[in-house]
């Protein structure tokens, strides 16, 4: 167990200065994520035009892992299609939980840094939270506010 694997530079950086950390006033899709175990709470907002995620932002409070994960998420899916965001959600889920690296891991870019949680089972939910919120927002967050929980 190596702490450096969990708190990699990119994670510490995104926790300290989270990207897209704001609210979109009129989102097309939104969802809340809540981890009752540690009290992490975040809201994710999307502005989708046609099939493209034009804008994405988040706000809330959480540990370094959940904040960094959400921040990296917003960077990764901004400007992407809804379909590729869904594919990415599945890839990230495997990254967090599969014991072996997936064959397409090299396509994840700096998101790979989040894979450190695999050594820390109690922290997987922290990394997962924003991704589950994204998935919930895309699935049923169009009209009413959706919610996701990692419990």
């Amino acid at each position: 167990m190596d702490l450096q694997d969990l708190y990699r530079e990119v994670i510490v950086d995104h926790n300290k200065s989270p990207r897209n950390f704001r609210r979109i006033i009129t989102p097309t899709h939104t969802a809340d994520g809540f981890n009752p175990l540690c009290g992490d709470k975040l809201s994710i907002y999307l502005s989708i035009d046609g099939d493209i995620i034009k804008d994405i932002a988040f706000e809330g409070s959480g540990c370094a892992i959940s904040v960094a994960s959400a921040s990296l998420l917003t960077e990764a899916v901004k400007g992407e299609s809804v379909a590729s965001a869904r594919t990415l959600f599945e890839r990230m889920r495997r990254l967090f939980t599969d014991q072996e690296d997936a064959p397409d891991i090299d396509q994840l870019g700096k998101l790979v840094a989040l894979g450190g949680v695999r050594q820390f089972p109690s922290r997987i939910k922290c990394a997962n939270l924003s991704w589950h919120a994204l998935n919930a927002a895309l699935r049923d967050g169009g009209v009413e506010r959706a919610s996701a929980s990692t419990e």
Binding site: M1, L6, V12, L37, G39, D40, A64, I65, C126
Partner: protein, 417 residues
Amino acid sequence: MSVAADHIATVNTAFDVDTVRDQFPALHQEVHGKPLVYLDTAASAQCARPVIDAITAYTSHDHSNVHRGVHALSQRATDAYEQARADVARFLNAPSPENIVYTRGTTEAINLVAQSHGRTNLGPGDEVLISWMEHHANIVPWQQICEQTGATLKVARIDERGVLDIAHFESLLNERTRIVGLVHVSNALGTVNPIQELTALAHRVGAVVVVDGAQATPHMALDVQALDCDFYALSGHKMYGPTGIGALYGKRDLLAAMPPWQGGGDMILAVSFEKTIYNDVPFKFEAGTPNIAGAVGLGAACRFLSDLGLEAIAAHERALLDYAMDVLAADDLRIIGTAPDKGGVLSFVMDDVHPHDIGTIVDSEGVAIRTGHHCAMPVMEFFDVPATSRASFGVYTTRADIDRLKVALDRVREMFG
């Protein structure tokens, strides 16, 4: 521990922690390559050797069912089970073992009171009064029974130190207050509530007082008759005993008037399809084959604590708390819960570092603490924090443990600095 007669005055503060530590096998291990420092006693205290031995002896030699068989093992199991009940009664200074009902723990004990006494005695317009510092175990059962009966839940305020606002508590008491639920020692803040005084106030309006004693039992000398509370709930695993066992103390007349809350074997005298005659107190509340090994362990835990001396334990933990407050004090560290009368619980938050990250980093240093909301979300809301880190102390905690926590917290600062 042998002490000369002329040193009696110091007996209560002298505490041979090394001898005590020898009785806790789990403490003697390495975690992530470092000697374990266990500062999560308020969540679950480690099991004491006499407890482990008692459970092993029972399971190896006497295991069978209680209150049923005429054979030798059943008799021995029954004796061990009832002896443990007597140990719990003596530990609490209850008038009789009949005042003690075994439960799975504090949570189940409070649910029992809510569902049995509460269901019988609450109705629309009635009130249940609790405090802001309650554990969810002393909130949710009351919310549920209020919803079921039409009663209203009232909450007495706390101040910024985490001390109960007694004037507010008193102002909420009225002739409609049927039940008062109070924590003796707060698990999230460490605050010790003046139960005797609060019980007297509640009794003035005729309310029944239910005390959550989970955190108090391992840390202070108890006398339920002096406290005069009507119910007192405890958990084995907070007392260096096993999980899955606890007890409810209740005043005899109240227990006798309460209906059973679960039906089954052992809680009956006679069953026909027309009518069932319930067993006497306390057995009518113990449906089904109980956790006999757990009860034996709980009895051993009570004796272990009494043998060490609750006053010596309280003094030991108070000294550790003072030391920890001193050693850990830093500009970036805020202590949550600063009541003058406080148990061995130190909740804190650090600037810009989430408790969950603190927990993981100090764990990598071999130091076990609790992080989260401690099943007391209203307390977190009151102090406007999502969660805290909590170091909690027990009979085996040393100053060296606290020094190790300090080093681990410096590692947190290094990583997030």
